[in-house]
Amino acid sequence: MNLEQLQRAVFEVTRQPLTPSEKMRPRLPDGRSVREIADALIKPNDRMTSFQRLQVYSQQYWFRILASLSEDFPGLRSLIGKRKFEKLSVAYLNECPSQSFTLRNLGSRLETWLRKHPEYVAGVECVAIDMVRLEWADIEAFDGLELPRFAADDSGKLSGDTTFCLQPHLHLLDLAYPVDELLLRIREIDSKSDTVSNAVLKFPRPSRIRRSSLPRPKNVHLAVYRLNRTVYFKRLTRDGFALLQALGEGKPLEKALEASLLRTRRSVGRVSAQLKKWFQDWSYLGWFAQQP
């Protein structure tokens, strides 16, 4: 067995989900005996069998990635509860193992996966997907690139042909549920019950949102962005959101305005008075970047 074959064999075994009692499964999905594979690969000693020694690595693998996903998606965890979240996490990570050198990207495919597997969030599908989108945007905004700022607050500088570049850390989310409020509430509850611990392999004590206190559907247009090291959520009007989206797509100001008004079916007159204020606010918040 060469190096490549050995590493594939070890990974194939250790990445199989653990049993409910957190042990390595006795068989692979194709029916092969894990004990036989372990015996062929690993030396036993007088205290542990080959299976037990390999199991240490399987447990470390799962404990580490489950803890990391739990830390990144406390909102989803609170929404569906700890047990369902663990079940969802195992299924997701089994199907979408990490493809990045950093655990930071572990949840990058969760939204797409969840849309294919709504059964893991049955009963709260839409709100759960909105929550995942918000929590992933939060991660992206935290350490996303910030380009040099462009001040678009001087209307004298702007013309219909002006194009804009939005900051890479700014994420625009069109949500069907007000999950921003819900996530802030969950964080507040979690911070009150938090203990002083830095243990990586332990689950934080989760809050649980009762089904009866789930938010009702409400369209929310949200900007998730970073200012002075901190990530903020800011709600936008439908017009402002549409305009920013169009600018983010690279449309010149005039075309972006037309496109956004088409989207929102509002007249130029109704939004023109707001334009100056929007650009002042958005410039102050650093959302515009100089063209790279």
Partner: protein
Amino acid sequence: MPANRFNGNSDYGVGIGLRLPHYQHIFSKKPLVDWFEIISENFMVEGGRPLEVLDQILERYRVVQHGVSMYFGSAEPLNREHLARLKSLVKRTKTPWLTDHLCWGSVDGRYTHDLLPMPYTFEAARKTAQKIREARDFLEVPIAVENVSSYAEFHVSEMTEWEFLNEVVEDADCGILLDVNNIYVSSRNHDFDPFEYLDSVPADRVAQIHIAGHTKYQKLILDTHDHPVIDPVWALYARAIELAGPTATLLEWDDRIPSFDEVHREALKAKRYLPTQLQEAS
């Protein structure tokens, strides 16, 4: 003596790992610390708080980069995106040397985020050394590889762990980050004499030393970095200093992290093992 070509001919003393729970203390109290070790991957991001914190640290302190996911021992090629980001960080920190583990952890582009033990074969040594050389040539900084703690050994192994380490570092012509706690942990898990391991390490290649605590279970010891250093590990450290001379030393404390002062105090115990004249000078 400590300065050698594997640690950029530097003269670093005793440092500690830069960890989030200590940021506030470090920025407000500005404690005297010889150097900080950072986990490279925590700062291989595009912006935001991690890089701002790092820049503040770099204004006042010396920093050495320690990686956890280069996976020199994985059979697959090095990840080019990883290397590019790492190089950008190397330019930012001006780390005099760079360390990562002598292990594997990725297969077909999928990552375990673990430090998996190598099969100690000549094929593995040759492939690992080749990847270390490639990384060093690309990053343009000396590289030292760290011996890991392990809980399993492979039947296919053709040599001992220390023979494998020697084989790799000689072939790659790289340095060693000698983790004496890892030697202790593995020696207990695999029933070998840790001093035999230490005595066989090429002392002139030791760029840095790691010390740490661990957790003892009924059937094995896990390298948890959540306790003070125990006496048998200090004894190994003393022997390492005897062999390699006073060497840049770093205490790892990554879980159940106590106060900054407690961690720093524990790290500074390493000075007891320096020659008397150096203890007085420091």
